[in-house]
């Protein structure tokens, strides 16, 4: 739906007068514009402050090149562009029709005939791109506009010429996990066969209303994309076989677009006749709506100056309450793209503004439900990036005075006192970052291409320390990959005592990675050498898979939680000096998702909650003590020799870590409904539990053992930043601070 211009939108771009906004996101804004002769166009812009970076300007130019390659039949016709302007812009036709995800939301799963017609036309679109040596790399329902004459593929924000390494750099995994190809998910080059994989996923979505690998946290999705069979339930039988072939894990097993088109075509006839009524009605509505736009511009809000450098936002003194501070990080939000022809202007690669960047009110798009503007009793709150289907951030790291938040594809360094975002940095995924408590380390991917080659000649990974002042990955401390060991695919498990522990795939990538053996390895960060490498059980379809849910180092032991392909979780403890397995036992009755919590351990024991609270001896895995049978505890926290956990129906209790004897328990009954999934926080005067039902963080006076006060709060994880004397509450797109006493 077009909306009025805001007071600070430009009057014109090149010869085009702006008349309305179509959408806005982290990278730029899309406008409706008009030529002197009244030709009406969609004008896509890139924020001037982003355009100062050569890389993004190059990306913008490549996108307009790709859009020209696909042309007006299969894409939005490019009319004009000026990638060199201060605010680079591209003018295209205004496309009349809803994006495919909206079409499915309106009409429900589409009939087979529609899916076939869409698929055959999309094969034509991809074929045209591939013949011009362009891969799309981000084909997904929101990038496909359904017009009355066929689908149009838009948003080439990350499409690039094959072999073009100008944009190859370390950084965020590109693409959308739900429709990503397995090779893309493992960081390898995405070829035309990857687009075929994505296309099949899009068609499964069109036929069923969900992707072939479901939804959920990106890490889980990526895992399923790589290892799980696609779920084709609900796909018409005649299509299921064809689409299954396209969803083969090995790119070489997938058909090309020409063959696929012949399989999908089922006769002739007008495309419009195959569209369900609600989609047709939406196309008709949009054909009318664009003519109702009256050029309009909103006045500057009286209570808000045009720009406020965030550095001048006054820091709160003491626990004062502030309204909702939308940090500059709002610019990584998704797109407000309800209007036709709006690109899902990818946020993933967009840098957030630095501390001196202009304050910008974020515009949550349809992919991000607007943060509830509830008044919380927080010291500050910020909204963080990501889309709706992305995971909640893991518990923040607290190196020194800072707080480092792990969003799915970005790190945020936050000043615990004010909530100010000092910097943000792109990461591959949360599983490539670890902290030893003082520093943050990152497993950085670097790809090199021979000139003209579609595939990277080498892909290397290096361990780097993240500079906590700037967010930049520092010099390469150690190479994770090498000719002998491979290691293209890896996960940084933990860093402790100058050693990084990783899971890596071994061997050179000749075939699909699933066939590669895996190992756990220890890398000395001072010398770069490998202290040991221990093979993991070979992973075939039938065997156990290696999927690490949590890892920590205690003394000489590396504690690992591994998910198996039957959905069970095992606790594996290795000797950090040799890598040998000390012991390995199942953790019965826990869901893998519930096990994604920091491990609670001391030199002698590992403490398990999320069920009956108990202590396992680190030396041999035997149970030393357990809470009385029939009790259920939440996630535990160890503090001063006491294991604190919420006991179901009772509230926060403390148990002596050595003996298992009760040491402390709250009274008064207020704790009966405390959440079991949020770790408690223990301060010097108060202990804290979260109550999801009431939306409250409850402070319990440790001396009187009764409720001291309630804070209106929200979040999944609550973590103490002891030096800053705050509790950080993190949730989806959300970080807030509460006083720690």
């Amino acid at each position: 739906m077009p909306s009025p211009l805001t007071h600070d939108d430009p009057a014109a771009l090149g010869p085009y007068r702006l008349i309305a906004r179509l959408g806005s996101g982290g990278m730029g804004t899309v406008y409706l514009g008009r030529s002197p002769g009244g030709r009406t166009l969609a004008l896509k812009t890139m924020h001037a402050r982003i355009a100062t970076q050569t890389e993004f300007r190059t990306r913008f130019r490549l996108e307009s090149d790709a859009a020209r390659v696909i042309g007006g039949r299969h894409g939005a016709q490019v009319v004009d562009a000026d990638p060199l302007a201060e605010t680079p812009w591209m003018a295209t036709e205004y496309v009349i029709g809803p994006p495919l995800d909206e079409a499915v939301a309106l009409a429900g799963p589409l009939p087979e005939t529609t899916v076939r017609a869409l698929g055959a036309a999309l094969c034509g679109a991809l074929g045209q791109l591939h013949r011009s040596d362009v891969v799309h790399r981000d084909l997904k329902p929101s990038n496909i506009m359904v017009t009355a004459y066929g689908p149009k593929v838009i948003d080439f924000g990350i499409a690039r010429a094959l072999g073009d390494d100008r944009l190859t750099h370390t950084g965020a995994a590109v693409g959308t996990p739900a429709f990503m190809s397995p090779e893309q998910a493992t960081g390898q080059e995405h070829t035309p066969a990857g687009d075929v994989f994505a296309l099949a996923g899009v068609l499964v979505f069109a036929a069923t209303g969900r992707g072939p690998f479901g939804d959920g946290r990106p890490a889980d999705l990526l895992y399923r994309v790589r290892y799980a069979e696609p779920d084709l339930t609900g796909v018409p039988a005649a299509l299921a076989g064809v689409l299954a072939r396209c969803l083969a894990k090995d790119p070489a097993d997938r058909p090309d677009t020409e063959w696929l088109a012949t399989q999908l075509q089922d006769g002739t006839g007008d495309f419009a006749d195959r569209l369900p009524d609600p989609v047709l009605a939406e196309i008709g509505r949009r054909a009318n709506e664009v003519w109702q736009v009256v050029p309009q511009r909103l006045p500057a809000p009286p209570d808000q100056p045009a720009t406020v450098p965030s550095a001048e936002v006054p820091a709160p003194s003491g626990p004062s309450r502030r309204g909702l501070l939308m940090a500059g990080a709002g610019s990584v939000l998704g797109v407000a793209g309800a209007g036709a022809g709006v690109w899902a202007w990818l946020s993933g690669g967009g840098p957030a503004p630095g501390p001196t960047g202009p304050y910008e009110k974020p515009k949550p798009g349809p992919s991000v439900s607007a943060l509830k503007k509830k008044k919380l009793d927080s010291l500050w709150q910020i909204q963080t990036g990501g889309t709706e289907d992305e995971e909640s951030p893991a518990a923040p790291f607290m190196p020194g005075d800072a707080a480092v938040l792990l969003a799915p594809t970005q790190l945020y360094r936050i000043d615990p006192a004010s909530g100010a975002v000092t910097w943000t940095a792109d990461i591959d995924g949360t599983w490539q970052v670890a902290s030893d408590g003082r520093n943050v380390y990152q497993n950085v991917r670097v790809a090199h291409y021979e000139h003209g080659s579609a595939f990277p000649s080498t892909v290397s990974r290096y361990l780097s320390r993240v500079d906590l002042t700037t967010g930049k990955a520092g010099k390469h401390l150690a190479e994770v990959t090498d000719p002998q060991f491979g290691g293209i695919d890896s996960q940084l498990l933990a860093v402790a005592g100058g050693t990084a522990y990783l899971a890596i795939s071994l061997g050179k990538v000749k075939e699909y990675l699933r066939q590669n053996p895996w190992a756990v390895t220890a890398v000395d960060l001072a010398t770069g050498s490998r202290r040991w490498t221990e093979r993991l059980a070979f992973r075939s379809q039938k065997s156990d898979r290696n999927h690490f849910l949590a890892a920590t180092v205690v003394g000489d032991r590396l504690l690992l939680l591994q998910e198996r392909n039957d959905g069970t979780v095992r606790i594996v403890v290795r000797d950090t000096r040799t890598g040998k397995v000390d012991w390995d036992r199942p953790w019965d009755g826990i869901e893998p998702a519930a096990a994604r919590q920091p491990l609670t351990a001391d030199g002698g024991h590992l403490y398990l909650g999320s069920g009956r609270l108990r202590a396992l001896r680190l030396s041999d895995g035997r149970q030393t003590w357990a809470a009385p049978a029939g009790t259920v505890h939440g996630v535990p926290l160890l503090k001063d020799g006491v294991v604190y956990a919420v006991q179901q129906g009772r509230g926060l209790v403390g148990t002596d870590a050595r003996s298992g004897k009760p040491r402390w328990a709250e009274k008064g009954g207020d704790g009966a409904r405390a959440s079991l999934t949020s770790r408690p926080v223990i301060g010097s005067r108060c202990a804290y539990t979260y109550h999801a039902d009431e939306g409250a963080l409850r402070a319990i006076d440790r001396a009187t053992r009764t409720t001291a006060r309630l804070y209106k709060a929200n979040g999944d994880r609550f973590t103490a930043q002891e030096r800053g004397k705050v509790i950080l509450a993190s949730g989806k797109h959300f970080l807030a601070a509460f006083p720690l006493q």
């Binding site: 008349i19 002769g37 009406t40 166009l41 036709e93 205004y94 009605a281 054909a287």
Partner: protein, 323 residues
């Protein structure tokens, strides 16, 4: 890009009508059916306003044309097409209204490839009945309903050509065979020179709906969809008193209840009724215009017209000052 139709004859000189540059004709395809005015899509010099413009046929009386255009300003209802702007007296006559993508009914049959589905005919009829009833309540007989006068937009019809019969010749003069008047939808009493009355609109509407359902304004009875046969035949009665009242016509087109249409078998083409479809007639027509009321190829043609006009640049205005 579609080349604008410049100098398309008659009063349209230099590709301009009044202040508007002509982008194209509206009536590319009328299948030989007369239309009482010439219609164009035009655009203002600043490019911001795109309009539907009408000018009289060559040889028509400009004063009568302008008088009807002036009266049409007062038409109400979502599916009427009041003039928003009328040429100043003394100059070349024209009237204009804001553009929405539309296809004249004959063009819609051409695009669809034949008669329209019964559901479309019923929804169209309901909206037109309602529009006529509003006019009749204002004391305005439309006197210009014909297939060419009905434009289809995505959200419902637009009934144009208000007063075409009155403009063609004064009362008392025979009107048969006059340019622009489609003989099948001209009520016999008006053809004989009678003053247009509301029941004449019912006749013309019957002929127009018959056209939508069969491709002819004077169909064989058997050609009509069975469920609509008796009511459309009744509309075409020579005796105005024998024609159905508009309310009866609405009931026949969009039944009040979920029961089958009167005189017809259980009927799949019957439009879905909204929750408020039982009381307010306006609600019944609006409910009938829900998703699916227009066939896909007509929606596609509307979207194409919209896209083409969005992509059209008006010719550069002449250097001479406009005012």
């Amino acid at each position: 890009m579609q080349a604008p139709v410049a100098g398309a004859g008659g009063e349209v000189r230099g590709g301009r009508i009044g202040p508007y540059a002509v982008l194209r004709r509206l009536d590319d395809e009328t299948r030989g059916l007369p239309v009482p005015e010439r219609r164009f899509i035009g655009r203002s010099a600043d490019g911001d306003r795109t309009v539907l413009v009408g000018v009289p046929l060559p040889g028509a009386d400009p004063a009568r044309f302008l008088a009807e255009a002036e009266a049409s300003r007062y038409l109400l209802g979502p599916w009427s097409a009041p003039a928003a702007e009328v040429a100043a007296p003394g100059g070349a006559p024209w009237h204009a209204r804001p553009y929405v993508p539309v296809i004249p009914l004959p063009g819609a049959l051409a695009v669809h490839g034949g008669p329209l589905p019964e559901r479309t005919v019923r929804a169209l009829g309901a909206a037109l009945v309602e529009t006529l009833v509003i006019g009749h309540g204002q004391g305005l007989a439309h006197a210009g309903v014909s297939p060419g006068a009905v434009l289809l937009a995505a959200d419902g019809p637009r009934l144009t050509c208000f007063g075409a019969v009155r403009a063609a010749a004064p009362d008392g003069a025979a009107r048969s065979g006059l340019p622009g008047l489609e003989s099948g939808s001209l009520p016999p009493e008006q053809a004989d020179g009678g003053s247009p009355q509301p029941m004449g609109d019912v006749y013309a509407l019957g002929a127009t709906l018959a056209y939508a359902a069969t491709g002819h304004t004077v169909p064989e009875r058997e050609e009509l969809p069975a469920a609509l046969r008796s009511v459309l035949t009744a509309c075409l009665a020579r005796d105005p008193a024998a024609r159905p009242r508009p309310a009866e016509l609405l009931d026949a087109l969009v039944p009040r209840t979920a029961e089958p249409a009167p005189g017809g078998p259980a009927d799949q083409g019957r439009p879905a009724l909204g929750p408020d479809a039982h009381g307010d007639p306006a609600g019944r027509a609006a409910a009938a215009l829900g998703p699916g009321w227009l066939p896909g190829r007509i929606i596609a043609a509307l979207a194409r017209q919209s896209a083409e006009l969005l992509a059209t640049n008006a010719p550069v205005p002449p250097a001479a000052p406009q005012d």
